[in-house]
């Protein structure tokens, strides 16, 4: 079954893996056997990155409930799913990374499980984000990246609490100023301009990346953002799986002026 273009152009989730055996799209495709068609190189990618779209078939259970409907429970593996694989060698302490993106988080998890199971030693590590340094870096950023949302963890409470500020320049808002001493950076939403188009991207400190893909070329924007974060020393290798948990705590959203 062919992929539904309008369905696939939606909110993508990505994680970046760090492992010596995972440095090219072929390293992914040789472990995922139900591939449809040939991988397609996406051009142009940002400098240093190689980006490939791949198409796989799998059961519809990977679709979210509101998309899959009753079909989610069918066991057949006849439904097409697109993923993007992007690779780049950051060098230094981070090294080569392989980013995998899919609109379906459960599909992404399934791919990770396959890659993790196939990887020989050492264990797979992931790209984590040093969020305080991202806040500092993007706070002083130019026009290519505009912060439109910051999410912070409220610390002094027995129960989990996240607070988000959105609007124009939330890092410069008076509410953010007030919250500085009693919260810590958790995530960020950024509008990235690249080659005349823009894309809204969100990142968490655990290395989970999301964006809304209105056109295929938007896959370049998160990579541009990662380059920017790397330039300012905000990327690190971590052993914690970025999709292990998704925050469910009460989130208060404030609109800044």
């Amino acid at each position: 079954m062919a992929p539904s273009t309008e369905r696939e152009f939606r909110r993508f989730t990505a994680i970046a893996l760090v492992h010596p055996e995972l440095s090219s799209p072929a390293d992914v495709s040789k472990r995922l056997v139900t591939r449809l068609g040939a991988p397609k190189r996406i051009t142009p990618g940002p400098s240093g990155w190689s980006v490939t779209r791949m198409e796989y078939t799998a059961a519809r259970k990977y679709y979210p409930e509101h998309v899959g409907g009753d079909d989610r429970n069918r066991g057949e593996a006849g439904y097409a799913h697109d993923i993007y694989v992007a690779t780049r060698d950051f060098g230094g302490r981070v090294g080569p990374v392989l980013l995998i993106a899919s609109p379906y988080i459960h599909f992404l998890e399934a791919i990770h499980k396959l890659l993790d199971g196939a990887a020989t030693r050492p264990a797979i590590q992931y790209l984590g984000i040093d969020m305080p340094s991202v806040y500092r870096s993007l706070d002083a950023s130019g026009e290519e990246a505009t912060v439109n949302r910051v999410t912070m963890q409220v610390m002094g409470e027995p129960n989990a609490d996240l607070v988000s500020l959105s609007g124009k320049k939330p890092l410069h808002s008076s509410i953010h100023e007030k919250l500085l001493g009693i919260t810590k950076p958790y995530g960020i939403g950024v509008n990235v301009d690249y080659e005349g188009t823009d894309c809204r991207i969100s990142l968490t400190r655990h290395g989970r990346i999301n964006w809304f893909q209105t056109a295929e070329d938007r896959v370049a924007h998160p990579l541009v953002l990662l380059d920017r974060i790397h330039r300012d020393g905000g990327l690190k290798k971590v052993r914690r799986y970025p999709l292990k948990r998704e925050p469910l705590g009460s989130t208060v959203t404030e609109e800044t002026e």
Partner: protein
């Protein structure tokens, strides 16, 4: 039982080696020494001593990083060969041969500070065949000996001893624990100051100054005693291991250096966080220039503490960059003192070495001792006269108290508030004794009008209670992050082992209720007491229902279920709530709390931010908040002082801290 002991003894020029579940017999042999080891993974096979093998003792700056590579990246054989120990050589590998060590060393070089390898054949290793690579000492600023010139004979002997102790400590720290250097530097500065005070001719001094001199000498002796002990503990288990010994049988081969580093990390995190916010300095520099507030919170009959909150004099609202170097305690392990704090030292129970992952001996207990030093410093600052003031300080405070005046500054208001706190503690004590029929003629409640003599009596007799309540409130808010279950379980599990608690059960129940009341709904004393009692009781019921319940839980429950006892507690609480509100409003600092708990490694699970890491997991990243990590671990601890697994979990969690 997966724990093993590695033991060594001399046989001519050779060293005999054994690894077995018990090895006490080795201690009777010439130069016999042993130490416990636990496999790095809580389940699965673990390497045993073979006829021919290589045992490698590895010193690492960040053991959890090293263990993550060994257990996650280098395959099952290496993972199953990895053991944990209490020593500086916190990682011990039992490998099939020397070649295996040569094979894996390049993968872990960045995490290895030093190592010692014993090639073993037939249970025997030749001393000449042992390879030792000692850690490269970190270059530290030279401190130099403190001069003994113009110091009396006895004090000079103490200073000489201190100089030698510090030189030894500096050597160990620079090689094995460079993060502890600020302590070495701080000790040098503190004793230098003492030495300066001792450079006088005693015969020329007044009685008062002679007393001060003796006090300085006493502090010097105590400092020396604790540094000696610390040298012994931190200096244990340094390379070469096959030639050194720690004179404590169970740890005599590898020592407890790794555990000392863990204790330092916990203490240093607390100390650094509190020093960054430096509340005593804020009070000293800002309170004299801030306007006064109503120290009584409205009339004495009906308190209205909301006026305090409106004043915004809470320490987290006041911004002042501290300019003082933090002073340090020496954090060491003691079986004599248990958890204890003094001017220069803070001790953790010796039991923490093997049972810190049990509720009774959990490491968070030390935070209570640490907070005593903070509370003491805050109240000492409050009761000092402001710079430039003249006249009898006690008389002036007494006068303002009797006039119900907040004075002309926040400092003067706080001084009057402190007197009111003393008075309410006195009243609470009287009422308790009156209700139990123990009150006597001399126990009459203090009048609202006091004399300076009464003020001094109040300070002497009731300061301890104020400090204790303040410490409980701050401990509950800062360290336990306002979590009832963890807080009550922790303090009552540790109290369960203290005989005097059972004798004064109502007093300890009252302390707990006061702490819980810091996060209580309701405005009236009665409503707050009822709410705190209910929450406390619910936790005690759960603790008491377990097979492992301690008798003290049912004793406390009996108090909370006894109408007359609750009546007494409620009356005392009505008075002591003043101290709770004073602490909560003025001295609890949300910014400090945020820094203390800050750790990007946490994630949200079931409505709480947690580490989501299990004993035997090695993620390698440095724990950002030791306090937060230990609080996170606490609910998983076993009680009744643990199980076999608890010792593994204790070492595992302590190595995570380094």
């Amino acid at each position: 039982m997966r724990k093993r002991y590695v033991g060594i003894w001399s046989d001519g020029d050779d060293l005999m080696v054994d690894i077995a579940p018990t090895l006490n017999g080795i201690l009777l042999k010439p130069n016999g020494r042993i130490s416990g080891l636990v496999p790095a993974k809580p389940s699965g096979p673990a390497a045993e001593l073979r006829d021919s093998c290589a045992i490698v003792f590895v010193v690492s700056g960040h053991p959890s990083e090293l263990i993550a590579v060994l257990t996650e990246d280098l395959g099952d054989e290496v993972g199953h060969s990895t053991y944990l120990s209490h020593g500086h050589a916190s990682v011990v590998l039992i490998l099939r041969d020397e070649a295996k060590w040569s094979e894996i060393l390049p993968s872990i070089t960045e995490f290895v500070w030093g190592y010692e390898m014993w090639p073993v054949t037939g249970g025997r290793t030749a001393a000449a065949a042992v390879s030792v690579v000692e850690p490269q000492p970190t270059r530290m600023a030279g401190l130099g000996d403190i001069s003994c010139d113009r110091v009396g004979f006895e004090s000079a002997a103490q200073i000489r001893q201190f100089n030698a102790n510090l030189a030894l400590l500096a050597r160990v720290v620079s090689g094995y624990a460079p993060e502890i250097w600020p302590l070495v530097s701080s000790l040098h500065a503190q004793v230098s100051q003492i030495a300066e005070r001792l450079r006088v001719d005693e015969r020329t001094l007044s009685q008062k100054l002679r007393t001060g001199l003796m006090s300085s000498q006493t502090i010097l002796i105590e400092t020396n005693a604790i540094v000696t002990l610390y040298c012994s503990q931190l200096g244990s288990g340094t390379l070469p291991l096959h030639r050194a010994a720690f004179p404590v049988g169970e740890y005599s081969l590898l020592g407890i250096g790794g555990m000392c580093r863990s204790a330092w990390r916990l203490y240093e995190h607390l100390n650094r966080t509190f020093a960054q916010h430096d509340h005593p300095t804020k009070i000293r520099t800002l309170y004299p220039s801030l306007g006064p507030f109503d120290p009584f919170g409205g009339s004495a009959e009906r308190r209205d503490f909301s006026t305090w909150r409106q004043a915004n004099y809470a320490l987290d609202h006041l911004h002042e960059t501290p300019d003082n170097e933090p002073r340090f305690h020496v954090p060491y392990f003691s079986s004599r003192w248990g958890f204890h704090e003094s001017l220069h030292s803070i001790s953790l129970s010796w039991q923490c070495l093997y049972a810190s992952a049990t509720k009774e001996w959990n490491l968070l207990t030390v935070t209570h001792e640490f907070l005593h030093a903070q509370v003491r410093a805050i109240f000492a600052e409050i009761m000092k006269p402001a710079d430039g003031t003249t006249g009898d300080h006690a008389e002036q405070i007494t006068m303002r108290y009797n006039e119900r005046s907040g004075g002309t500054s926040a400092l003067q208001s706080m001084q009057v508030a402190y007197v009111e706190a003393l008075v309410v503690c006195r009243a609470a004590n009287y009422l308790a004794r009156h209700l139990t029929g123990e009150a006597t003629e001399v126990d009459h409640p203090v009048d609202r009008h006091i004399t300076t003599t009464q003020l001094r009596d109040l300070v002497r007799n009731h300061t301890g209670v104020i400090h204790e309540i303040a410490v409980h409130v701050l401990d509950y808010r800062y360290v336990y992050n306002g979590r009832d279950e963890e807080y009550v379980t922790s303090i009552w599990s540790s109290w369960a082992l203290v005989p005097s608690v059972a004798d004064q059960i109502e007093h300890y129940v009252l302390r707990t209720v006061c702490a819980l009341a810091a996060r209580t709904e309701g405005t009236t004393n009665k409503a707050r007491f009822a709410d705190a009692r209910l929450r406390f009781r619910g936790i005690l019921v759960r603790l008491n229902d377990k097979d492992t319940a301690r008798p003290v839980f049912s004793d406390a429950l009996a108090v909370l279920d006894d109408k007359a006892a609750c009546g007494r507690l409620s009356v005392q609480f009505s008075n002591l709530r003043y101290v709770v509100e004073l602490t909560q409003t003025f001295f609890f600092d949300e910014r400090l709390n945020t820094e203390l708990m800050d750790d990007a490694q946490t994630e949200e699970v079931d409505g709480r931010f947690v580490y989501d890491i299990e004993p035997g997991d090695y993620r390698g990243g440095k724990i950002g908040s030791p306090v937060g990590f230990l609080l996170d671990r606490f609910p998983t601890y076993s009680d009744r002082a643990g199980t076999d697994e608890a010792e593994f979990e204790s070492i595992w969690q302590m190595l995570q801290l380094i």
